[in-house]
């Protein structure tokens, strides 16, 4: 007996396994003649109401564009996995990337050129030129639609302000006042008066923001595709001395010096932080993903001194470079409908705000205009009945931000240089005897080496 049955079973198992593996990689086709478009929705973990709102918008879009079949895909911008997802084909066809990374991505050929489409839609001249610059390469080609922008804001906990005997309607307006308030909060409430991001490149990001707010800059654009590192400047030094004083003289920074964007939001939403600096639009995430109590929230501008400005940021809606022409056309139609029209068209704006508000999603979070200020402010009057964020608690920011000059992020090797600066910030916050001048000199040399590569 040569056990044919054994052979058959083993063969069957092998065939089944290969079949299963093949099925894993098989792409889905569409027999209905519609163009399938995979679009980014929300980060994993967003609440169900967000998906309800999206499903409603999907229906509205497909009614207007019966040839396009929208497929929502969970998506969160993750630098680490981006290239792998792109190569593996698991990225949506339409997604968003932050300005911080847009230059690197477009120089790497990882974004689709959409210059002709932007021209055709007539947006080229209406975009805020500072933002358009973020998506344009050295030859003037454009690789995405700026869809949302923010300025740096100082987020504060109104409840902690009150507990510490401070007036939450009159938040600090200078760095010295921030230091005083932080000290008072920390002494009166036992919570961290101020906190700073330090990890996963956010330390560098915030240091760059604190530098421009003090009139400095960590990098000069030579205009010919090369950059000069200027990390050892007075603004960066003053920013680090500020942190050093809070940490080692006042002890008002709390006890955790290893925080990034997510963990600092978590700490703030949990009521453990008096003040911190981050993008002005973070309120939406604080409420949606971190369960912040809206009553605690206050927002003001980051103090700007010595001719400085506020570091801006934001994200752009882009198309995957791997899609075909038909999908690209569908992608542009979606971007225009989903991201752009609500900024321009009253009906679209009202429909968007209404849909979001009905699902309890934040409407009216303060942002910087992607187009011009007049259009932005007009659009706010259209959607006024649906605004559900406590804009009165954000008044100091909403009124003050127009007096500040928005500044772009450094463009050369942005993330690598932010990573270098992470360690500088960490050194100042964890080593009492850190020599700021020496740290900056070293970081400057290392950054220039990166820029010269």
């Amino acid at each position: 007996m040569k056990s044919p049955r054994t052979v058959a079973i083993a063969g069957l198992a092998a065939v089944a396994m290969v079949g299963a593996l093949a099925a894993c990689t098989a792409g889905g086709g569409d027999d209905s003649g519609k163009t399938e478009l995979r679009v980014a929705t929300f980060p994993p973990g967003a609440d169900e109401a967000a998906y309800t709102a999206f499903a409603e918008q999907e229906k509205q879009f497909e009614k207007e564009n019966p040839d396009i079949d929208i497929i929502g895909v969970e998506y969160e911008w993750e630098g680490p996995t981006f290239a792998v997802q792109l190569a593996g084909g698991s990225l949506p066809d339409v997604f968003t990337v932050p300005f911080t990374d847009s230059k690197t991505l477009l120089e790497n050929g990882q974004l689709m050129d959409v210059t002709d489409e932007i021209d055709e839609l007539g947006y080229t001249d209406s975009f805020n030129p500072i933002l358009l610059e973020e998506v344009t390469d050295s030859e003037g080609r454009m690789f995405g639609f700026p869809r949302q922008a923010y300025a740096m804001g100082l987020h504060y906990n109104r409840t902690l302000f009150e507990e510490a005997g401070l007036d939450p309607d009159n938040p600090p307006t200078t760095w010295d006042e921030i230091r005083e308030a932080a000290k008072t909060i920390s002494e009166k409430t036992g919570k961290a008066g101020f906190m700073e991001m330090t990890q996963n490149n956010t330390g560098g990001w915030q240091l760059a923001a604190a530098t421009v707010a003090r009139g400095g800059s960590i990098q000069e654009d030579n205009g010919d595709g090369t950059y000069t590192s200027t990390i050892a400047n007075d603004g960066t030094k003053a920013a680090l001395e500020f942190l050093q004083a809070l940490r080692w003289e006042d002890d008002s920074l709390g006890s955790n010096m290893l925080l990034d964007w997510g963990t600092i939001n978590q700490e703030f939403a949990a009521g453990n932080i008096g003040m911190y600096s981050s993008g002005s639009d973070v309120y939406t995430a604080l409420v949606r993903d971190f369960s912040l109590n809206p009553d605690d929230y206050g927002l003001t501008v980051v103090p700007v001194e010595d001719g400085g400005g506020t570091l801006g940021g934001g994200d752009i809606a882009v198309v995957s470079p791997t899609v075909d022409e038909e999908t690209k056309a569908a992608a542009v139609t979606w971007i225009d409908w989903y991201y752009m029209q609500k900024l321009l068209d009253e009906d679209a704006a009202v429909l968007d705000a209404k849909t979001l508000a009905e699902s309890d999603q934040a409407v009216g979070t303060p942002v910087l205009p992607v187009l011009d200020r007049e259009t932005y402010e007009e659009s706010l009057t259209w959607i006024e009945p649906y605004i559900n964020v406590p804009r009165d608690q954000m008044t100091p920011f909403i009124e003050g931000v127009w007096d500040q000059t928005p500044m772009g992020e450094p463009k050369g090797k942005t993330q690598e240089i932010y990573a270098l600066l992470d360690t500088v910030v960490q050194a100042v916050l964890t080593d009492r005897n850190a020599d700021i001048d020496a740290l900056l000199e070293k970081a400057d040399v290392d950054a220039q080496a990166l820029l010269d590569q």
Partner: protein, 332 residues
């Protein structure tokens, strides 16, 4: 399989019975008994062996060996995974060696390995020996010791992050306060961050080692202890002269495994500190991760794989050394 063997055995006598018993076996007969024709190979179950082996060969080849080969190739290329890669020779290796952070990462990894060796290696041995001396509730203590291994590593790290709270009201600092020791910065200082990671890693890994040592202790012949006892040996002399020499083989294996494991430490520095503060906990593997993912947006896969290849070569040398040493040991 037993059926096949029985039929083979039945066929054998017929073949060997042909020559007379007093004459030497003819070369032809020798050939027939040593090599098998494809037919006998199939009849002997070779085909089903191959079919059974195929899925495993495929899985290993596809998911394990092919990535290894590809990463060696990638270490000689520059790629963004999208466009065709370009060959850059040994540039990636040169860049990795020129990276000022490489020295820091190597030293940090050695520091972690040394701390783990000094504190993490003897602890499970001591625990296992002590537990083997316990007469009642041995199972309970084994379960207790093994419990940390059951906790998912990420959960354990998140828990320990809370324990390591550097404020005076943090868990560990409160405990230290009871015995009059001042609050420690734990993860928040370049000086104490690495020892803190080793503390958690030791806690997390000790359970598995204890179980292995306990099993090894069972294999020590009880007569040796009886003889030592008759000679009036104290408990320490018994451990020193009987237990440890008997465990020597397993101790050596565990040592090598630990050295290889600690050279690849990633989880703790990644989750606890992201390599901070001030690069005090950047390890080689974390540096590989950073090169491949964190900073580059797909620019440095070549350098990351180059560093991986270099690490793999060092670890392969270590393993070779281990085999050489154990070989000599077993013959001596």
């Amino acid at each position: 399989m037993t059926m096949t063997r029985a039929s083979d055995a039945a066929a054998e006598p017929a073949a060997t019975a042909a020559p007379p018993p007093d004459s030497p076996p003819s070369p032809m007969v020798r050939t027939r008994t040593r090599t098998r024709s494809p037919r006998t190979w199939v009849r002997g179950g070779g085909l089903s062996t191959l079919v059974f082996l195929a899925p495993m060969l495929f899985v290993f080849g596809f998911f394990s060996w092919s990535p290894i080969v590809q990463s060696v190739i990638m270490s000689l290329q520059k790629t963004n995974l999208l466009d065709a890669p370009t060959w850059v020779g040994l540039d990636n290796f040169a860049n990795v060696l020129a990276d000022p952070l490489l020295g820091t990462a190597v030293l940090n990894t050695l520091y972690f390995a040394a701390l783990a060796l000094v504190f993490g290696f003897p602890l499970p041995i001591i625990m296992a020996v002590l537990m083997s001396e316990v007469r009642r509730g041995k199972g309970f203590y084994s379960a207790l010791a093994y419990l940390p291994v059951v906790v998912p590593p990420v959960v354990a790290v998140l828990l320990w992050k809370v324990f390591f709270d550097a404020s005076p009201t943090g868990l560990f600092n409160t405990i230290l306060g009871w015995v009059g020791i001042p609050a420690q910065p734990w993860l928040q200082s370049p000086a104490t961050a690495m020892p803190s990671l080793v503390l958690e890693a030791t806690w997390a890994a000790a359970g598995g080692s204890i179980i292995i040592y306990l099993a090894a202790l069972l294999s020590v012949p009880p007569e040796l202890y009886d003889a030592a006892e008759v000679d009036g040996a104290s408990i320490w002399r018994k451990i020193w002269h009987v237990t440890l020499p008997q465990l020597r083989g397993i101790l050596f294996i565990m040592l090598i495994l630990q050295v290889i494991g600690t050279a690849q430490v990633f989880l703790e520095p990644f989750l606890f500190t992201s390599g901070g503060p001030n690069n005090a906990t950047v390890t080689i593997l974390l540096l590989i991760y950073r090169k491949a993912f964190q900073n580059s947006l797909g620019g440095d896969y070549g350098e990351a794989t180059a560093l991986s290849v270099m690490l793999a070569i060092v670890l392969a040398l270590l393993s070779w050394l281990y085999f050489k040493l154990t070989e000599r040991w077993s013959t001596s």
